[in-house]
Point group: C2
Chain length 519, copies 2
Amino acid sequence: MNGADRLCETLLANGIGVCFANPGTSEMHFVAALDRNPEMRCILGLFEGVVTGAADGYGRMKDQPAATLLHTGPGLANGLANLHNARRAHSPIVNIVGDHASYHLPYDAPLTSDIDALAAPMSNWVHRVSGPDDVGAAAEAACRAARAMPGIATLILPGNAAWGEAKPAEVSRAVRPAPVPVTESTIRDVAAALRAAGSHAGLILAGTAARAAPLDAAARIAAATGARMLGEMFVARAERGRGRPPLERIVYPVDQAVEQLRDFDLLVLVGATPPVAFFAYPGKPSALARDGARLMTLSLPGEDAGAALEALAADIGAPHRLPRRPEAPPPPDGHIDGALTDEALAVLIAQGLPENAVVVDECITSVRSFYGMTAGAPPHDFVMACTGGAIGAGPPVATGAAVACPDRKVLNLQADGSAMYTLQALWTQAREKLDVVTVIFANRVYAVLQTEMRAVGVNRFGRNAERMLSLGDPALDWVALAAGMGVEGKRVDDAKGFRSALDHALSRPGPFLIEAVMS
Amino acid sequence: MNGADRLCETLLANGIGVCFANPGTSEMHFVAALDRNPEMRCILGLFEGVVTGAADGYGRMKDQPAATLLHTGPGLANGLANLHNARRAHSPIVNIVGDHASYHLPYDAPLTSDIDALAAPMSNWVHRVSGPDDVGAAAEAACRAARAMPGIATLILPGNAAWGEAKPAEVSRAVRPAPVPVTESTIRDVAAALRAAGSHAGLILAGTAARAAPLDAAARIAAATGARMLGEMFVARAERGRGRPPLERIVYPVDQAVEQLRDFDLLVLVGATPPVAFFAYPGKPSALARDGARLMTLSLPGEDAGAALEALAADIGAPHRLPRRPEAPPPPDGHIDGALTDEALAVLIAQGLPENAVVVDECITSVRSFYGMTAGAPPHDFVMACTGGAIGAGPPVATGAAVACPDRKVLNLQADGSAMYTLQALWTQAREKLDVVTVIFANRVYAVLQTEMRAVGVNRFGRNAERMLSLGDPALDWVALAAGMGVEGKRVDDAKGFRSALDHALSRPGPFLIEAVMS
């Protein structure tokens, strides 16, 4: 048995049965090993950003890692932007990067690069396999590391470690690490602080704390103390909709976010990081909480947020059952007509949202309306694709989510500008016949940047700004782009057309793309 | 004047008038400055791999740097693969990467990453601007560094260095560094070695040595000593065709390359690196020269290869004029009919090649035939896009070459698999109305990998190998993909159709794509 076979066997033994891949010559022995193990499902991406983004989407929905397979430094580099998002989302991924045979590296062949250096910034864990006999233990450690953070465990596999003969060895099955419990003293301290702060306290719920059961516990705590439930600006995955406690998202514009948080004396972080401005602006603060506000951490990513919230609820003496509260209003049921504005699209999508859908959002400037009107929509998962701000996460994350959840509809709400970074994901959706409906919000500009330019004080764009911030001239034809990759699509420019296209797209299996030309 | 304006001014003063860009929020002040300087030509790429690849193509054709503009760590990451190719091609690029304001970095906002670490492996020079007063000197140093290597000078521009007020200062114009001269003793040593080795010597000519005048000098040396003229496997740019001394390329398959170099006692590197196997294979050597062969360096990249070859010719007493030699045969003039094989396409393209064309090649498995039959074709530049082996260089390099050479036809010979990595380049070609004709060699497989799989001993592919090495199911529709980005295209599947499509494409201005469905 060679190292590649050992790797494959160890991944399978550790419950990793999906490999998103874009292999190259140095990975041929691993590809051959994957071919000998048909129980591993190999899914090709035609660009590495698709591969890593799909692994991110899979990890977010499954809470378990998929493997990736990338080709040397440049292949890893192409996948780094979406690994950055995945790392910020605390997605578990076993990220396998093939390299030259170790003895070949000193010759500095053209494809040689410092893979270890490239991997470090976007990985939580990096290991270079030293030889065929290291493969088993290294792969097991990678599986364990990816789950423990959860995060990105990058395993660099030299060609000769893959093709060399590995000594016989037991295949170890990694014990799946249990979430680390939060200490009792932390629970007690947070409980005391929440009691003292009353309605001037906020719970920022992120990571696994944004799932239905922990949200219920948080809602009971909030009912008992008067604290408010807040969500991160870029949530990795939230379970929300009818019957689930709503999260008030911390907003993106700095001034508004500062205003939103002004009243809080205490912010309790549950799997969340301290709220900070996404970007710096001259004269505006970086930290969003007001000076003197107290930040306390209930749980870090990888810690058991659900159990911590339950224990906190018990310590506080919160009611055992969720108190009756006013139901969030269902989506507006009025008939929408005419042009496709942000608002109109939000209403139309909210009205058409199927039960148990996975909504993958990367529509950037258009998301606010949608989020606001779907707190009482049918239960759904809401996934903000670009958790790390790296553009082009939406289509790949939707792809991986659909692989993870074959029985659910995935709805990718997608800006046109960001879709262009990873449009190759559509091909994988077509090949794997995934139930992804992509809605392209075709405003044909980098709208967020036009806003930011105005914030810089430039209100009339000259030729250079115009050319850098507009996607027109020529307009992208998304129906043609989708067709080019085997995905059926339809262009619509009014509410009636959109409603009928969405109904059609959701009623059929497989991928579909709707280009919503906005006004 | 703020730092961003100073940067713009310094770039212009140093002869950099083109900026390939994909900006983001942290670069808005630089975008505003570019907007105030309309003499800078800003060209938008809808993905950063297009931006860096286009800068590479521009640099190869102009021997002068363009600037890039990338957005933080993930934007840089997306551009790294093509920076890797550019670095290997010794292309000059001033690579500008925006970052958060320096005081914002400790807050670890979502888009924060270690840009310095990411930049290092694919850069020859990296500098983080410390503040607005550092911008001018830093930009000048970057221009100088990019030209001197030549190579990738990465300048990291924090937001507050861009928006902060810079003290008044002279804008310095960098002295364009002259190529470093080769020492007389090196010339003498190489001359002596060449005389001794006679016909058992090879000159490997790369970088600027592969241009018409240095090739003439090399040919005179070869005529005097009996040495053979060799070219690198992945040449950055060679001037070739009718009337120019031909280069025999060192071939890709290891066994054949070893055989090709077996006879050489001496290999003189002129801007070239020692010949090594592109990949390692079990039981095959990494170095291609035979044991005991002597490798001597006449000139390194950045050294004056042309002057060194002239001096060498003089030392050797080579004839002052190029001896008459048998002309390379013109492309076959026979009528090609029927299916589009590698061979048929090569003949058809060779027959249709316009005078003074720039051929940008990334057709991977299909290039050999074309190269072989165009030594006597009309003079043209031959550019191997993926000098570093990073896939997806072709369309962007062709884009940048067309910006650099608006009066020449650019012909991008492009494999379908590699085109998918950076297909967004077509949109930039459409927007800028560039004279690029893209020929997609649509074999619908990763042919190079299928060959490599067989080399690993796998002759019957199972489901996993089949799914990872084939691009069918569904087939890509390149005419639709091009149309989606505003580029007209045509699909052809026989010689007659191809000939007429190529004639049409070359007869009109602006970009055109031919999908050549291969048999």
